[in-house]
């Protein structure tokens, strides 16, 4: 009974902070835009510089690994390229969150601020970078469509946007949790860094699911696999398993719930931690 009242209190406080974040959405949007701009301010190409370097990595490594894995390049390149771009998008959010709220201390120590808003700023920044990179994805899909017999089914592109939404919401809440823990424990960020690196190799981004003949558990138990599948596969003309949707949607709700509890319980203490 006491636990229920406590939970309800935390949830309400968490939701209040969440609402505050979206009430000042234009602030976070501006700051997110600005973060992208300032990162590449001194280069001529601006944010496109990043797109160009991503493209180079994809072309070079795509070529190399298609040889190593003995895969036709017109199949492997779109597979690897799209997966890699989504991975970059997902991992950089988590890695930035692992710096903790300390990097926003000049805002936090000045006035009351929504911590969800700070995460929103980080999310918007990374989403904008993904938007720049989406031009590469567009080319990769056109490449795939012109060299193999994948049919264009509009429903699948619709599925892509649904998947993208689910992943973005899950990551938003996940980043909040990571940022809170990393603010309290300085060395947790390093641990997150190592985990992110490992997950990259454990997730079918370079390699394909079909190449694993036994111990499918490695794949099925990897939550990131399900997240990346529901955005990548529709683009490549495949329909993700319903299972992946179940798992991704459950993750979205679990992270959302946990983030609200975290927010309710720890929000008031963050300014003492930084």
């Amino acid at each position: 009974m006491i636990l229920r009242v406590m939970l309800k209190n935390y949830l309400n406080t968490g939701l209040a902070d969440f609402n505050l974040a979206f009430k000042s959405f234009s602030l976070w949007l501006y700051l997110g835009f600005f973060d992208v701009k300032s990162k590449y301010r001194r280069s001529i190409l601006g944010p496109w510089w990043l797109t160009l370097s991503t493209l180079t990595v994809i072309l070079m490594l795509g070529f190399l690994w298609s040889k190593i894995f003995n895969q036709p390049i017109h199949e492997f390149l779109p597979y690897f390229g799209t997966g890699y771009i989504f991975w970059l998008w997902m991992s950089s959010q988590v890695l930035e969150a692992s710096n903790g709220f300390g990097s926003f201390s000049n805002l936090i120590r000045q006035q009351k601020i929504s911590y969800f808003g700070l995460i929103l700023r980080l999310t918007i920044k990374n989403f904008l970078i993904l938007c720049h990179n989406s031009i590469i994805i567009l080319f990769l899909i056109l490449f795939l469509l012109s060299y193999s017999d994948v049919e264009i089914i509009y429903f699948k592109y619709f599925l892509f946007f649904i998947g993208l939404g689910i992943v973005q919401i899950s990551l938003f809440f996940f980043c909040y949790i990571v940022a809170t823990i990393c603010t309290r424990y300085a060395d947790f960020g390093q641990i997150v860094g190592v985990i992110v690196q490992l997950v990259f190799f454990f997730t079918p981004i370079i390699w394909q699911v079909e190449s694993i003949k036994s111990s499918m558990m490695i794949i099925d138990l990897n939550p990131i696999y399900h997240l990346i599948t529901i955005i990548r596969d529709p683009l490549l003309g495949k329909t993700p398993f319903l299972n992946s949707y179940y798992i991704s949607i459950s993750m979205m709700f679990i992270f959302g719930f946990l983030a609200m509890i975290f927010s309710g319980k720890y929000n008031k203490r963050i300014s003492f931690w930084i």
Binding site: S38, N106, L107, I108, Q110, D187, S271
Partner: protein
């Protein structure tokens, strides 16, 4: 109607050492290895502070360094949550504790006007409206289009000051009297600040200059 109500307000600030911010050590302790936790040291920055301020209040906080003036201002700004007691603040708060807070050094003066005003709770159209007057008052000339990392500290303060004093607020919190710019600027800044404060309904200033507080405030709280 703005108001501030503090009832037996206390703020305890925990001081973490490396020992406490390590999750590895925490896990080791949990497993029974490693050194015993020495406990987190807390600073009682503010103890049992009570006050009630209504419209028109001009409060001066007087005391030596480290007596809790700034902590109290931060609590009023909503940065620190009460560790004990209650605090109710009604009205739009402008915290002038650090007028450069929120500035981005890679951004131009104009962009920082947007950042700072958005932080102060204005929306885009309102900012467009007051932007020209801010630029005019700051007198930065061509520099307003350059990244603020190229500014001198005096120019930075002038920009921060011009922005903060352009946005109306119900409650103004100030840590020491703001005095910015060169001789010529100080004069007109003084006038602007007086006008800005007179438009607010509650004004709280922390200082250790009794003469200043007496000239500004109707109430003085001694720590």
């Amino acid at each position: 109607m703005a108001s501030i109500d503090a009832k037996k307000l206390s703020i305890h600030i925990p001081v973490f050492t490396n020992h406490h911010t390590s999750i590895k050590k925490k896990i080791l302790r949990f497993l029974g290895y490693g050194v015993e936790n020495s406990g987190v040291y807390t600073v009682n920055a503010l103890n049992d502070f009570s006050i009630s301020l209504k419209d028109g209040a001009r409060l001066g906080l007087y005391g030596p360094n480290g007596c809790g003036k700034s902590t109290l201002l931060r609590a009023l700004a909503g940065v620190y949550d009460p560790s004990a007691g209650d605090l109710f603040v009604n009205g739009k708060v402008a915290s002038l504790i650090d007028i450069l807070g929120g500035f981005d050094h890679e951004a131009s003066g104009i962009e920082n006007i947007y950042i700072k005003c958005l932080l102060l709770g204005l929306d885009k159209s309102e900012i467009d409206l007051i932007k020209p007057s801010i630029i005019e008052f700051a007198e930065l000339g061509e520099f307003i289009n350059l990244p603020i990392r190229t500014y001198s500290s005096g120019m930075l303060m002038r920009l921060g000051f011009s922005i903060v004093t352009a946005v109306k607020a119900d409650i103004i919190l100030m840590d020491e009297w703001l005095s910015v710019g060169d001789e010529k600027f100080i004069k007109k800044a003084e006038d602007r600040l007086q006008k800005y404060i007179s438009q607010s309904s509650i004004f709280v200033i922390a200082s250790h200059n009794m003469k200043l507080l007496k000239s500004l405030c109707t109430e003085i709280y001694r720590f």
